[in-house]
């Protein structure tokens, strides 16, 4: 069985409301060094599927290519 980790984030230039809110909250807490926060999704997918299929389901369902980028990493079995 193959295991994958998928990271979905907004494309550059797409406003990220939760990230912007976290940025303001951290500034309010006094963490002045924090310049930006972007919040995305982390997905773990496992099964008898190859990387090409995982990429296909990301394009089709797990991410929206209009607003999001995604990155797939294959998890090596220990």
């Amino acid at each position: 069985m193959a295991r994958y980790e998928i990271f979905v984030t907004y494309k550059n230039g797409i406003f990220d409301p939760p990230g912007a809110t976290a940025e303001r909250a951290l500034a309010n807490l006094g963490y002045e060094g924090v310049e930006s926060v972007q919040i995305g999704k982390y997905i773990r997918l496992a099964g008898d599927v190859d990387l090409a299929t995982v990429t296909e389901v990301c394009e089709k369902l797990l991410a929206n290519p209009v607003i999001e980028d995604f990155r797939v990493e294959t998890v090596e079995e220990a």
Binding site: F15, D16, P17, P18, T21, L61, N64, I67
Partner: protein, 231 residues
């Protein structure tokens, strides 16, 4: 002339669409999302709600409901489709409309009546330019976005049918959209003008008991458009 209102698991405004049609004396039936035959309907409405619990992204799962393949074919033939709120989100996920709807700026669910300026026309709405309509919104993900080229194309083609505005119809310098929408966009249509999606709920202001009648033109306009096509 018969409206078909698609009921997805988690839709919750489909009765309001049927109620608006009833009030105006128009025929309307529910279509189950698992159905694959939508022949017999002249106009399709995707209602508001929380289809599939809004999981993954709003509209992302509903877009693959069995009925949607037929809805896409209907759109390609020029059939009129209206997407309200979650219906708008489903139409963008299905790529029948450009752009996408993000979480509201400020992360608040917004439920209130807003002022909307008519900036364009489509099969579902043909009001004089700059008409101001008052229609309620009721959403958490209504923050419209698209890339710069798409925005340019939408503006050049007059595809931005409705914009959030001030009560006098003007646009505030820092934006009039309560949800942070790009360019104050509240509703867009496709190039052909048969597919129209908007975040506000016109069906709620058809019967005056809902607090207004500014939603009536959406239903009466499509009836007129179809009558003209039929000649």
């Amino acid at each position: 002339m018969r409206f078909g209102v698609v009921r997805f698991p988690g839709s919750n405004c489909e009765q309001d669409i049927i109620g608006a049609c009833d009030y105006l004396g128009l025929k309307a039936d529910y279509i189950w999302h698992g159905d694959t035959d939508i022949s017999g309907y002249d106009a399709i409405v995707l209602p508001g709600g929380f289809s599939y619990g809004d999981y993954i992204r709003t509209g992302a799962v509903a877009r693959f409901s069995p009925v949607m393949a037929e809805v896409v074919r209907f759109a390609e033939k020029g059939g009129p489709i209206l997407g309200v709120c979650n219906g708008f989100q489903i139409l963008t996920e299905a790529h029948l409309l450009p752009g996408a709807l993000l979480r509201n700026r400020g992360l608040k669910f917004i439920c209130k009546t807003v002022d909307l300026r008519v900036d364009g026309a489509c099969d579902w709405l043909q009001q004089p330019q700059d008409t101001v309509l008052q229609i309620p919104i009721n959403h958490n993900e209504g923050n419209y976005t698209c890339d710069a080229q798409t925005l340019e194309r939408l503006n050049a083609n007059g595809q931005v049918v409705l914009r959030y505005c001030e009560p006098d119809g003007s646009s505030a310098d820092d934006g009039s959209a309560p949800n942070g929408s790009l360019d104050d966009i509240a509703g867009v249509c496709n190039e052909r003008g048969n597919v129209f999606g908007l975040m506000p709920h016109p069906e709620r202001v058809v019967d005056p008991v809902g607090g207004g009648t500014d939603g009536q033109p959406f239903f009466t306009t499509i009836v007129r458009t179809l009558a003209e096509v039929a000649g």
